[in-house]
């Protein structure tokens, strides 16, 4: 029923997202932007795009902003400063600390395009994506 496709397409996309190990981590990252966004933005000062298993997420940490995380390519249409391509499981390992970014890169589990300097500051972003224990 194609007539229902438009709102439901988004839903299908999110349904696919439910499948992934990386979803809760990205959610946590999004949430943590409320608290840590400005600090992160002042460190990173750029736009990072995560390509996780065909899903693209943009983490907009331009300097001076609150920081945003949303699916899809950068809204401003500019080229992102850093693009990371990684599989879902490896992203989970990266965030959870099982894999560190350098190793991931050398093992070609993580592909980096763009600013290497920014890529080296990846760790705080990954830390922010870790699940948080609840009071």
């Amino acid at each position: 029923m194609s007539s229902f496709s438009s709102p439901l397409l988004v839903r299908a996309a999110t349904a696919a997202a439910a499948n992934k190990a990386s979803t809760p981590l990205l959610q946590q990252l999004g949430k943590s932007l409320e608290a840590e966004g400005p600090a992160l933005a002042n460190r990173i000062k750029g736009v990072v795009v995560f390509k996780i298993d065909d899903e693209e997420w943009t983490l907009d940490l331009t300097e001076g902003t609150q920081g945003q995380l949303y699916p899809g390519p950068p809204k401003s249409g500019d080229k992102p400063d850093l693009t990371l391509t990684i599989s879902d499981a490896h992203f989970a390992q990266l965030v959870m600390g099982k894999l560190n970014p350098q190793n991931a890169f050398l093992m070609r589990k993580l592909k980096i395009n763009g600013s290497m300097g920014m890529a080296m500051k990846l760790q705080p972003i990954l830390d922010a994506a870790q699940p948080q224990s609840k009071l």
Partner: protein, 829 residues
Amino acid sequence: MSSLRDLVAGSDMCTPSDGAGPSNALGSLVNTLLGGAGKTQEQLRELPGAAGPSGAGPSTSFAPPPSAAELALAGGAGMQVPGLGPPRLNHAAAESFMQSLHAGPPPQFQQLGGPAAAGAAPAEWDAIFHGQDSRPMGPTALLPPQPPPMGLPGAPPPLLAPHFQAFIRSALGPSPSSASGPLPPELAAQLSVADKVRIRDRSTIMARQLYADQGDQFADAQVSHLLSSLRIDPRELPAQLSHAHHADWHEAWRAGATAAAARPHPSVAAELAAAGAAAAAGQIPAQWDAVWEQRHGPAGSLARPASTGWASEFAAQQPQQPQPAAWAAEFAAAAPASAWAEDFAAQEKQAQATAAEQADQSQAERSGGDPRATSAALAEVLGRSDNPKMRNSRFMQFVSKMSRGELTFQDNKVVESTPQAAAWAAEFGGQQQQQRPAGGSWAAEFAQQQAPVGPRQQDWVDEFARGVADLRLDEGLDAGTAEQLEAAWRAGEAATWAQEFNQMPYVVVPQGDEKQYEEWERIYGQGAFEDSFAGPSMGAAGAAAAAAPGEYVFSEHNPFLGNPDAQQKGKELFRQGILSEAALALEAEVRAHPNNAEAWRLLGTVHAENDDDRQAIAAMMRAHSADPSNPEVLLALGVSHTNELSQEQAVSHLRAWLAAQPAYRQLEAAAGQAPDSSQRLSHVIRMFEAASASAPSDPELHVALGVLHHLGRKYDNAVAAFERALQLRPGDYSLWNKLGATLANNARSGQALAAYQKALDLKPNYMRAWTNLGISYANLGDYPRSAAYYVRALGLNAGAEHVWAYLRTSLACAGHMELMGAVEGKDLG
């Protein structure tokens, strides 16, 4: 050929000790990879030699050393960082990786190359190398001599090198030249048996390669020449030395030799070289810089262009690549999961396609309105998604179908028949509710009743029985939860209804059918799509998450509706720890009496303990609006907002809490407002500290203070505050959980475990604590255990979407990709 010698044995221009120099890029590369200059040559010899015994493709002999080296590097890199960066080379890992590399049949490489190419290869090396020679000598070797990977003794005595050089040099000339004299005995004695065997083997192999056109015997003669010069008596050496390298290089050789996968990847070689260059710097930033530079063009430094040059030249020359290795390994790893996923998806799609069909049919039959169309579309979407949750949904479809089956055939029994059974079972005891037999009996009953129905339904029934049997039902999952799930899925699975109405002879309109549609429309129409983060699932939890934030979402099917004792029942259930049922009871109460602050508060508490902060906040807000000064409500709101990282709201609620306490009201009023919003938190903290100074034995105060500190990430202070509160109130399980969570968020997950355990001792069904335990184990790196704890938590509250997601994460880290699809309804054992 001198280029090869130089390549392998180290240019004479450089210090002979490590046999590597800036111009000997390949040698140094291999040095680093394999460790030790002398060994390098042997190992290199071994590479083509791996081909040797099976009849040598001489053409590829020279190519393979570098490619094999590269392969090994890539292979090593595929598993771990090889000796380039941090000097750790997990050779076992590299080995196994190499094993996995091996794809094609062994003899494959034999067909490659022919004698004609033998002449060409050396020329290539000459070209590469002479181009290299003109480059300036860098100040340092490209790659520092690395400790040999497998714990071999340090680089062999330099004096061996000339012998090897001579050995190879003899290959270049038409006639064998004599070595520079036999090796002094003392040095020869230093060669261990293993070394000797290696030397022998590898030189044999190398010789065969080098002298391929001159025949094996000639090669053997050369080898014996070498050995004698080294005072190695071949007769006294073991025939075979088990050497980890063998397999590796063998495989690497084969993989590299397969020109089939001819994908030029200059970047690979370049990267490797660059990485090698970076290893000289010995620091990760430099390493990354090198790679960066590699990508963006070589910098002006001396060492790098050298490596870049030969690497790119080499890469240009060498089509065969280790690239297949890396992706092959990854693919192999991914294959099981993807294979499963495909199968599952195929099955699901097939089933759902039929479901969708039927939904369409029924839609045509019943002129519904938009809800029906939406339901059909929903079924379509469900069918399209690979979501393993689909299985759960189908599982739950069966539950709902089954219950409706009961409904159908026992006409007079109201819809509540099943949930009443559930409630009855729940009342019967909190532990060990034998859900499995119950579910099984339901399924059996249904199967009997549904005998006349078509085979497809039968399949579903069977599947349901299987599904229920699979569901781990121990002390965690009680009938109430199953019922709630059922209700939840009913809320989302209108497609099921469509099918049923189509198939069932008795068209019984379940109670609340219309209501369900309304609710559902509300939920799905309500901007659920905007929030891509919220509840991608299709269940009640999804519905809950899909609702506008801050708005409470009721479970659809509520057996307690209309029950005047709902609140009391809810309290009892809560005490017993059956949270989901308690939630339902309380919901019934608040639906009947929307201003019942107490009920809302309890409801909020239930959700908080079920680790559902959104619902908790929604409920608490209602409680708050009903009773603005209830301190417990305010405290709970502060806690939940803290969990949701909404700092401002948490602070304002906690501040209000303080104001609501008569003892501190004045203090709060006196403190006034913070100078600006960023200071609000610290301002309020100061306020609280002043209060606690005045009343040190008020545990709640300490709790609130702890929460505030946690918000401000002053975890030490928070821990101190919670500990003070615990001294005053040691039996408060939620306090132990708070302490644990604070410790965990402060990276003290080990200590957190103890605190959580205490909480669970006090309240075994404390789902939040189970979840937090899972998180802590994941932080500690114990992913399988973490996953197990998540499963326990899910047993208590299967509607917790984020816990399912955490489970997936832990499974991904544990490497149990095959369990991903089975995440629903199965335990890990």
